[in-house]
Structure formats: C-alpha cells, structure tokens
C-alpha cells in the first residue's frame, strides 16, 4: 500500500504542478513510513516541503496554499498527532466554502496513518475518524488495499472538497495486490461488497476488513454466510449498499478499531435503524476498540480481531 500511495502522489504531481506535498520529514527521508520517498528527489524543495514541527501550522499553511490555487497534500505523521491541527481542520478547512458562500473553497487532502497493530502504543495507534465525520464539510476516506488506496487517493485529490485520507498502517506493507501503473480513480462514496452472503452483513474498513473477512470465513463453517462490506469512503457513506445488504440479511455488525462509544459504528447502527428498521431481525452489533486509550502491551486484546468478531456473528445470526 505504501508503494501504491507513493505512485498516486507521484502520478498526480507529474500531471498537475499545483500539487504540493508538505509535512514533517516528508522530504529527503520520505516520511516516517517512506510513503513520500523519492518525491523530493523528483520534485524538489518547493513541492515536497519539510516543515517545522507544528501540525496546526502545516494544515493552516496548506489552507493558504489552497486559497492561492495550489493543491496541498499535508501529511500528519500519525493520526494521533492530528489534534494540534484540530482547530484548523474543524473551524477553518471544513467551513471555508460554506462561510464564503462558495467563493473560497480550500481543497486540501490530509493524509495520516491510522490504527493499531504495529506495537505503536497509545499515541501511535489511534483511529479518530468519527471526530471528523461529525464535522460537516469534510470527507473521510480509508482504503483497505493497494489498488483501492491509489484509486481513492487520486479521486480524493481531484474531488473539490477537503478530504481526510486515513491510511491503515497495519497493512501499509502487509496488504498486497496488483496496482496498475497508469491512471485510474475509484469514486468516493462507493463501498465494495467484498464477500457476498445472505445471513449477516458485516461492515468494516481499513485493516479491520481482513479481520472481518477472516471471521466471515470461519462463520461460514458454521453455516453462516456473511456479506462483508468495505466502506472505503467513510463519509459521505454509501448508504445504498449498506441498506441493500441489510434488507437482504436483516442482521448487521459494524467493526472498527476506534473506541466504541460515539464511534462511527454508532452512526451506522443509527442509519440502519432509520433506513431498514423493519427488516432487522437481530440487534445491530458493534465490535470495536474498547472505551480506553490504546494499550501498548495488549494491543491484540484491544483490536476487534476475528476472534472477537466471530462470536458476534454467531450471536447476531441467532444460531
């Protein structure tokens, strides 16, 4: 996935000289996870900018660049470090188009690695997507495969709205797959049914998609066929795909790494209630991170791995 994202950035920077990458250590060393490796060599200091240590400054300056007409793609080293930029994202970036009556949109794509599974501990493992989904004016994307990562990133860069592009670091190198060299985009707002099934709908994204699939595979040994949906775009979410699936299965489970309470799973459950309540045959379930900070030593207890998803599937299936 690292390579696919790097591809997408390089491709877009070649195609459009307004595209600029900025952040801490994105230049010569190519970022903590080497996602921007080689870009500095190819595009130089003024399009691949190593910044001072200030996430607020990075996003704030990116907004200015966007106003000027550039297409800035700031990197936040870990999503856990996005909070110093929270005000600029929430109060400024998300609201500029609206406040200015459409005159001053600020097109920025913020990239940040999310999630656990690399023994990063408390401050290198968080998944803050729900905080941004709650804020009107932002789009939120989270790919689960190299192919999707490239296609979704190209789409995110070309989309007129600000996008938070969360990269699941657990599968930065683990997730493999063919990635075409050339240009392609995957539309934002369109989920993928990655495993068809008729008993239980399992909604996941990012690194947890693989856990959902693994649990679904195991459940099928008990005769429960899960339909697994990879959201890809978290917001605006592909409600049609979700509702169509739940209408078929009558049962739904949402899986995410973030703490359960007020996580995006809550919204998905509430939406399913609103759109498909009378089709529901069992209580929608959530298999999520705990309502605690992210523990270093016990991250495999914390994450909603297949071994925690499977019992939820069995229980939801009601067998």
């Amino acid at each position: 996935m690292v390579q696919a994202i790097n591809d997408a950035l390089a491709h877009e920077m070649r195609r459009d000289d307004r595209v600029v990458v900025l952040g801490e250590d994105v230049g010569r060393v190519g970022g903590v996870f080497r996602v921007t490796q080689g870009l500095w060599e190819e595009f130089g200091d003024e399009r691949v900018v190593d910044t001072p240590l200030s996430e607020g400054g990075i996003v704030g300056a990116a907004i200015g660049m966007a106003l000027y007409g550039l297409v800035p793609i700031p990197e936040i080293q870990f999503a856990d470090f996005i909070y110093p930029a929270f005000d600029q994202i929430v109060s400024e970036l998300a609201k500029l188009r609206w406040r200015s009556g459409g005159e001053y949109p600020a097109k920025v794509v913020i990239r940040a690695p999310v999630g656990g599974g690399i023994r990063g501990g408390l401050y290198h493992s968080q998944s803050p997507e729900a905080l941004f989904i709650h804020v009107a004016g932002l789009k939120v994307v989270c790919p689960s495969s190299p192919y999707d990562a490239k296609g979704l990133l190209l789409a995110s860069i070309r989309d007129p709205d600000p996008v938070l592009f969360f990269e699941p670091k657990r599968i930065y190198r683990a997730a493999k797959g063919e990635v075409p060299d050339g240009e392609y985009t995957l539309p934002l707002g369109v989920a993928a049914v990655v495993r068809p099934g008729r008993h239980v709908t399992v909604i996941a994204w990012g690194a947890m998609l693989y856990e959902a699939i693994a649990a679904a595979d195991q459940a099928s040994q008990s005769g429960v066929e899960c339909e697994v949906i990879d959201l890809r775009t978290l917001w605006p979410v592909d409600i049609e795909t979700i509702v169509a699936s739940v209408k078929k299965t009558g049962r739904v489970i949402v899986v995410h790494e973030a703490p359960k309470t007020c996580g995006f799973g809550a919204e998905l459950v509430a939406l399913v209630n609103e759109k498909a309540f009378f089709c529901l045959e069992a209580p929608p379930a959530r298999v999520c991170g705990f309502d605690t900070p992210f523990p270093y030593a016990l991250e495999m207890e914390y994450l909603p791995l297949a071994r925690r998803i499977l019992p939820a599937i069995i229980e939801t299936a009601g067998i």
Binding site: T51, G60, A61, G64, L67, R97, G101, E103, G189
Partner: protein, 361 residues
C-alpha cells in the same frame, strides 16, 4: 550556591523604537518620509472618515439588537487604512474582526458589508455568519473566523505559495495584540520565517484584548519584538499615524519583493481618551490626518462637512437597502457545505422543504 558568576543575560530585550511620520502640527517629519501625493493623502483621509461613520452606524444597529456583534475600528483607522494602502492590488489581504475598512479600500462596496452585517441572503456570506468582515474575492480579501489568529497561517501559506511560484505577490494579515498569544500566530510567523515568505503581519496593539491589558497578555516589551523568535523583521509604528503605517507597510512590501521575507509590524494604537470618544482626542488619527491635509492646503471645513454628509448618506442608504431585504433568506444553508449536495444533506434539505416557498411545498 556552589557555582556562581555564570553570566546570565538580561531578560530585558527592548523592542524596536516606534516609527512615526506625522507631527503634532500636521507636518511630516522629512527625515521619516518624503510625503505622499495629494490624491492619496485625501483618499486616506476620506477612507478613515468612511470607516468611522460606518462604525457608528453598525454600533448603533448592535445597540438596537439588530445585529449581534460589531467590532468597532474607531481609533484604529490609521493602522487599518494605512496598511491596506501600503500593499499592492495583486496582494492578498487577510482580515481579523475590525478591518472592514481595508476591504472597502480594496473596492468592496459598502452595501456588501452592510448586507453581511445584517445577515441577509445577498451578503457575501449569504447570512451564514456575520462576525468578521465579509470575504471579498474580487480583491483577494479573505475574512477570518472569530477564532483569533487562525488567519495568520493561511496568510503565510498564500505568501509561501507566491514565493514558491516566483510571483511577486504578498500577503497582508491583520490581527490584534491578543492574538499573538495563540498557537496560530506562533505557527504562522514561524512558517513565514523559515520559508522567507512575503508576509506582512500587522498587529494592531490597541492595548486590550477585551478586558486584558496588553502588558498581561505577554511579558515581552511590546509585540514587534516577538519577531525575534522567528528571525523576521520587527517594526513598531505609531498606529495613529496613517502616513507612517503606510510607509512601513510599503517598506515591508518592497523587502518582500526583494526576497527578504516577512515583517512583523506592531501598530501601536493611541489609547482611548477617558471620555471613550476617540473623535474628541487630539490623538485621534482622523484629526491628525486632517491637520496634515489642512497644512498642505488640501482641506477645509467646508470640504470636511461635505465629505461627512456624503459618507453619512452613503452609509444610511446602504443600511436602508439591506433592510429592505428579507432578513431570513431561503433555507440554503445546506448548500456549500460540500461542492455538491451529498445524499444525507439532500435528505435533510428535503425534510425542511415544506418551509421553503421556492420548493413550492
């Protein structure tokens, strides 16, 4: 103490001396400035008067409860108009709460400001917010959210972009001295410093952040001196002296063009007289400029009365027009959240459609 006599540098770093141009008697210090052409001198004065008059009306509307909030620029016109006049047409301008006159200087019609303040659908912000002055895109004027200082990194980003693109364009950003305590002042100035961005940062030091006196905002000697922390140029100027402000901003603009980067300008606004009424003070920036114009033979009581009548009429007309506008525009606030309406906002909009006459509901 076992070890002593390690010399400890002093904490007292004095800020730069204050630059002025206009003297008490209305003449301009020739050592400081060579003067400005007649038209410009008159235009600066007129613009300051327009600002003062507009303020008076908007403050009155606020007192009447017709608008929630208006941040008056009374007494600060020289800092605002002088700075706006010191940059070039192609430059960007980022406003804080009080700088509507800078936008007027750049050609924003008075009507746009008043529509905005009253929250009508025809204001540039379409009634969505009214706090700061409106956006005015035709002249690259960008309004700030009320969150103090958030506009500073934006301005730094614009300035940095211009430099990276090798375009001779600068960004002028305004803020109050209180805003210097915020995260975004720090980030914005530091980014401008390291990128040598053509940023002209004008800090209006009016002595107060709401109830906090400026010497409790920070322990530094004034605010210009904070430039030291960012390796950018520091200037302190008499913010009641429109010619001096214009001069230092022009100088900063010229340095920006020469690739010398950012300047932080502290415009020290004269303290309000005890009466609270700025106009009654000889330190009033408008009174000072008028003495100058009179000294140059450019102004008379008669002309002044005419100007004030005109301005008064203009402001009243603008308010009357905005007043005629329905105060509640069509419920379009689901627009412009995104470039196009996503499904959830389409649903939410439909749910309120019955209240929307345009939808025929």
């Amino acid at each position: 103490m076992l070890i002593s006599r390690v010399p400890m540098p002093s904490a007292a770093w004095p800020g730069p001396p204050q630059v002025g141009a206009l003297r008490e008697d209305g003449t301009v210090d020739p050592a400081r400035a060579e003067g400005i052409p007649d038209e410009l001198a008159v235009a600066l004065y007129e613009q300051m008067v327009l600002s003062r008059e507009t303020d008076a009306h908007l403050v009155a509307l606020q007192r009447q409860g017709r608008i929630t909030h208006h941040a008056s620029a009374a007494g600060e016109e020289a800092a605002i108009v002088g700075a706006a006049a010191g940059v070039r047409d192609e430059d960007w301008m980022f406003l804080a709460s009080r700088e509507f006159a800078a936008a007027l200087w750049r050609g924003m019609p008075l009507g746009a400001l008043v529509h905005h303040a009253l929250g009508t659908a025809r204001g540039p912000g379409r009634g969505r917010d009214t706090y700061a002055p409106p956006f005015w895109k035709p002249a690259r004027v960008v309004s700030a959210s009320p969150l103090s200082a958030t506009q500073i990194p934006h301005a730094a980003g614009v300035a940095w972009s211009a430099r990276a693109r090798r375009e001779d364009v600068a960004a002028l950003v305004f803020f109050g001295e209180g805003a210097t305590s915020s995260a975004d002042f720090h980030a914005g100035l530091n980014f401008a410093g390291v990128t040598r961005a053509p940023l002209i940062a004008v800090c209006r030091n009016n002595g107060w952040a709401t109830s906090l006196p400026s010497d409790r905002q920070t322990a530094s000697d004034g605010f210009a001196v904070k430039a030291v922390a960012y390796g950018v140029r520091a200037v302190r100027v008499d913010g009641g002296d429109v010619i001096a402000v214009l001069a230092v901003v022009r100088e900063a603009r010229a340095r920006a063009a020469a690739g010398e980067g950012c300047t932080l300008i502290e415009a020290v606004v004269p303290p309000r007289p005890d009466s609270g009424d700025v106009s009654s003070s000889p330190a009033d920036p408008i009174a000072r400029m008028r003495r100058h114009l009179e000294g140059r033979g450019l102004w008379s009581d008669d002309r002044d009365a005419r100007l004030r009548d005109e301005v008064h009429a203009d402001v009243r007309r603008a308010i009357a027009e905005a007043d005629a506008e329905p105060s509640s525009p069509t419920p379009d606030f689901t627009d412009d959240v995104y470039a196009s309406l996503p499904w959830h906002l389409r649903e939410q909009r439909q749910a309120m459609a019955p209240r929307d006459p345009a939808a025929g509901g």
